[in-house]
């Protein structure tokens, strides 16, 4: 190979180098956080008095990546020996418009399940929905009937005192594992999307 050829080669590579250096001042777009949850609201409505509600709200304004501590708030207190109808709403309020994560969970109802866990005061919970209540992204209702937990009931006993209610949402869990359909998390597996404990009381 002669020197001329080599110089040509060098010139080409040099041009590549320089052209690739040209600075473009385009600013990048912020990533749209598809998985972020900022807000979860668990609403408990007295089954005999719809004006009596307990609202438990989790709010983390900067999401799981941010240093701001989440703020849980509970309004109202539970009454003894009462059954409440519960519902869960999950949002991503960092997006505009607000992303309703609950819809996403409904669309993949067969892969998600909530668990409501407490050891306190003999409180019991039970699912009141199942997968066939929801439609997938194509608008076709599920035919399977495992619980999802977007709605549920919570029943207090006559014991009063403090209550810690842990709310867990898992995806890709084993819904057929022993006890899972009854709300027992022990064998569920999967990955958590939500794992938060609210503190309230029965009066």
């Amino acid at each position: 190979m002669n020197t001329n050829k080599f110089l040509t080669m060098l010139a080409i590579s040099g041009t590549l180098f320089i052209s690739s250096c040209s600075d473009d001042d385009d600013n990048p777009d912020p990533a749209n956080e598809g998985e972020l949850i900022t807000t979860m609201t668990v609403t408990l409505t007295n089954s005999t008095d719809t004006s009596d509600t307990v609202v438990m709200r989790f709010f983390d304004e900067d999401g799981e990546n941010g240093p701001t501590e989440p703020t849980p708030t509970v309004t109202g207190t539970l009454k003894a020996s009462t059954t409440y109808n519960g519902s869960v709403a999950v949002l991503n309020e960092s997006e505009d418009p607000v992303e309703i994560v609950t819809e996403e969970i409904q669309e993949e109802a067969d892969e998600h399940q909530f668990f409501f866990i407490t050891d306190d005061l003999g409180i019991t919970t039970a699912y009141t929905d199942n997968e066939s209540n929801y439609e997938n992204a194509e608008g076709v209702a599920f035919t399977s009937t495992n619980p999802v937990g977007l709605t549920f009931t919570l029943t207090t006993t006559d014991t009063t005192g403090d209550v810690a209610l842990r709310v867990v949402l898992r995806h890709e869990l084993d819904k057929d594992a022993s006890g899972v359909a009854e709300g027992n998390i022990a064998n569920a597996g999967g990955s958590p999307d939500i794992d938060w404990t609210f503190n309230t009381s029965v009066e």
Binding site: F6, S13, A31, I37, D62, D96, P192
Partner: protein, 797 residues
């Protein structure tokens, strides 16, 4: 080619002939560098005189004048090259010819076969590379004393040199510095080991021609060279392994011509399913790897050029059980001692997984100038694409990578090596580099590493002075400039929590949606590195090397900018814009003896690093998914003290034992806290039987003992939702000591006159020992892999 050589010899010869007292002698041996066998019939030519070695490889030249001579040493199947020796200073010299079958034999003067003069270094040869054909570069390098690895499972293996890894270890592949996002703990080098002819590890920053920031060391991967003669040869290596039920195939074909032209092509494929421990399957630990390379060019003695391109593509499963949701999952994993996901064996690779592609292209030209030296210049291009897939909330999200980075690098280097003088050599060069990182936001995950552009420029001078027959002094100095220009989004809450609003308010470009600042950090670093050292040989077979190396390393993008939840590791990693360069001063000594009967090397070192950058768990942060450990980068002054020791003894004709030991102690100097992730002391002892007469049979049994790492930083307290209280998270506690027994056997069969077949069998972890390795990031979740049988067929043709 031959004509040029003769011309050179003639010119040098004429210059040197004068009316001096010509009674000097030069004697020694010509030895096969590959196996140390003396070569009969090798010729040494100078000034129209020709001397041929006898049956013991010995030569003796009389009637030499006390001046420099250019000797041309050759042996059949080898290319001639010229070595200049000052006969007034030197009276004995052994010449080493690399004498691989069919491959270029390079003439190397004893002691000059290394990358540096006075650094601790070691090379692994073709045999070892073949043994690790189905494994990775990092696995093979562990054969070298003082080299360990930081693993993520068994397939992601990052080399650690004397306690340091990541950006502190530079990898030079075919004379190109790999730019493959080496900053991440779970980012392994994107190199197919089968494409390498030899791999050399320099344990320190002394190889200044490659860069100045290799505080840990340099790994130099060199291909086999092609001889300038009419030849066609190739090699195919097939390996099968029982653990992971898979294997690899690698093949290489080389065509050389007398006029210097050559073509070379290489391809490799590797496929494994889930590997297993003695007790269970490690689900989702399969790997699929493809690689190919092509090279052609002209390689003459006086000039040459070549074009090289290589492609590497890998898909690696990450242990299913290592995906954890929050700190309670981590606590459970550590306590349970058993992974919570064990599925049936499969070849399928599911999320979490990595998919990495690396393209490397190179154009190189060199020219030799008579009585002056050699000028080389090179342009290289690299493109690295990394995807990491995680277990995410919805099906749609799972099909998208959580991390999508594209790193493009262009580099021009040019250097001149002045090697014509007998008593000194000098090398000088420059480097220009441009790098662009693009983080794709379509992942729907906040960028862990931002978009950035990086500019590097460097220049170096290094030299060796051959003070006497047995003393060589080396010194070098290098300057590097780095500029990084990033565009990064910060959550305003994070920006304030880091205190950047006071120090960096001028870099904010705009306020973006989602309560974020878009910022434009621009940092410049000036780094100075230098080295000085000496090698002294004494007695028959002893050498003493002493080296001092000063090295400065600018922070990498992860150390500066990491920001966010690393889903696959379930931890929040936080860089710091304030992080500055780290400066290392390392003194290393190597005392060695190499005889036929026995030999040893004692290699102590002390590495003092100012502003050492480390990543450690500091706290936990609460989120709706529970608590996540925060890992933060921090700078401190550190001290690494260690020793690598080796001993071999040839007991009898056919029996040999090898004994290695390495120890490193890393500590923060200000507060006496141990550094995180320091390799535990370990010792390897091996007994080998080798019978040359019978099919070149080699059988060896190796014992590897890994002590427990008793020096580690304190654990952290975290709040556990499950336990409803603060608990100690034993994230730093190392696992127990362990002992592994491995065996290997090789046989060689001739296939016709030119070809041969080597058959090798290896059994790793013969005793099926259950163990965990401190330097495996999956040690929290599962045991390391159990017994493994490997069968290897290597055909040379």
């Amino acid at each position: 080619m031959k004509r040029h050589t003769w011309l050179l010899v003639l010119i040098l010869g004429i210059n040197f002939i004068s009316a001096q007292e010509c009674e000097k002698t030069l004697s020694g041996k010509v030895i096969d560098f590959h196996d140390g066998v003396p070569l009969e019939g090798a010729t040494i030519v100078f000034n129209n005189r020709k001397i041929v070695t006898d049956a013991s490889g010995t030569y003796n030249i009389e009637g030499l004048c006390p001046t420099s001579y250019a000797f041309t040493i050759s042996h059949e199947k080898c290319n001639s090259q010229v070595i200049t020796i000052d006969v007034s200073k030197t009276s004995t010299k052994d010449f080493y010819l690399e004498h691989h079958l069919n491959e270029l034999a390079e003439v190397k003067v004893a002691g000059a076969t290394t990358e540096t003069n006075s650094s601790q270094e070691e090379t692994i040869s073709n045999d070892v590379i073949e043994k690790y054909s189905s494994a990775s570069l990092g696995d093979a390098l562990r054969e070298i004393t003082g080299v360990s690895s930081l693993n993520t499972g068994s397939t992601i293996v990052k080399p650690i040199i004397q306690g340091l890894s990541g950006s502190r270890v530079m990898i030079i592949n075919n004379n190109v510095r790999m730019q493959d996002m080496e900053w991440g703990d779970e980012h392994a080098p994107n190199i197919d080991i089968n494409a390498a002819g030899s791999v050399t590890v320099v344990k320190g920053a002394s190889a200044l021609q490659y860069g100045g920031d290799a505080i840990g060391g340099v790994i130099i991967v060199e291909p086999n060279r092609v001889p300038a003669k009419d030849t066609l040869f190739g090699k195919t290596v097939l390996t099968g392994a029982t653990n992971g039920i898979g294997g690899s195939v690698a093949t290489e074909l080389v065509k050389g011509y007398e006029n210097g032209w050559f073509f070379k092509i290489h391809g490799g494929f590797k496929r494994f399913g889930d590997v297993e421990t003695p007790d269970y399957i490690l689900s989702n630990t399969g790997i699929s790897e493809k690689s190919a390379s092509l090279a052609f060019g002209v390689n003459k003695f006086t000039s040459g050029w070549d074009v090289y391109y290589s492609y590497f593509d890998t898909e690696i499963g990450v242990l299913a059980a290592s995906h954890i949701g929050n700190v309670d999952d981590l606590i459970n994993s550590i306590n349970n001692q058993q992974p919570d996901i064990i599925r049936d064996f499969t070849y399928d690779i599911e999320n979490p997984k990595q998919e990495v592609t690396h393209h490397l292209g190179r154009l190189k030209y060199f020219k030799r100038f008579e009585e002056l030296g050699k000028w080389s210049t090179q342009y290289d291009f690299q493109y690295n694409q990394r995807f990491e897939f995680d277990i995410r909330r919805t099906e749609e999200l799972r099909s998208k990578p959580s991390l999508d980075l594209e790193l493009t690098t262009h580099t021009i280097t040019s250097d001149f090596s002045f090697d014509a003088k007998a008593d000194y050599s000098l090398k000088t060069g420059i480097l220009l580099r441009y790098q662009d990182n693009f983080a794709d936001p379509s992942t729907e995950v906040r960028r862990l590493i931002p978009d950035y552009e990086k500019y590097d420029a460097g220049a170096f001078v290094s030299g060796e002075y051959f003070a006497s027959d047995n003393l060589t002094i080396d010194a070098g100095i290098r300057y590097d400039f780095n500029k990084i220009d990033a565009k990064k989004f910060y959550l305003i809450s994070r920006w304030e929590e880091r205190g950047y609003n006071n120090d960096f308010s001028d870099i904010i470009i705009e306020r973006a949606r989602g309560s974020q600042f878009l910022t434009n950090p621009v940092f410049e670093y000036h780094s100075l590195s230098g080295t000085i050292g000496a090698q002294y040989t004494f007695g028959q077979d002893n050498a003493l090397k002493v080296n001092y190396a000063l090295s400065q390393r600018a922070p990498n993008p992860a150390e500066l900018f990491s920001d966010g939840l690393h889903h696959s590791a379930a931890r929040i990693e936080l860089g710091d814009l304030r992080i500055d360069q780290e400066t290392s001063q390392k003194v290393s000594i190597s005392l060695q003896k190499n005889t036929e009967k026995w030999g040893y090397e004692l290699a102590p070192y002390a590495n003092f690093i100012n502003d050492y950058i480390l990543l450690e768990p500091t706290d936990v942060e609460l989120s709706i998914r529970g608590a996540f450990p925060i890992w933060e980068y921090r700078q401190t002054n550190a001290r690494l003290l260690g020793i690598d020791a080796k001993l071999y003894i040839n007991w009898l004709d056919k029996w040999r034992t090898d004994h290695n030991f390495s120890l490193v102690k890393g500590q923060e100097t200000d507060n006496d806290i141990a550094l995180i992730n320091m390799p535990a002391p370990n010792t390897n002892n091996k007994i080998t039987y080798h019978n040359k007469e019978w099919k070149d049979l080699t059988i060896s049994l190796e014992s590897q003992f890994f002590f427990r790492q008793n020096e580690f930083p304190p654990n952290i307290e975290v709040f556990s939702i499950d336990a409803d209280q603060d608990v100690l998270l034993e994230i730093n506690t190392p696992p127990d000591a362990y002992h592994l027994l491995n065996a290997n056997a090789d046989l060689k069969f001739a296939l016709g006159t030119k070809s041969n077949l080597k058959v090798g069998v290896t059994i790793n972890n013969i005793l099926d020992e259950t163990y965990r390795n401190y330097l495996n990031r999956q040690r929290f979740f599962a045991d390391d892999i159990g017994r493994n049988f490997l069968l290897r067929l290597s055909i040379n043709y």
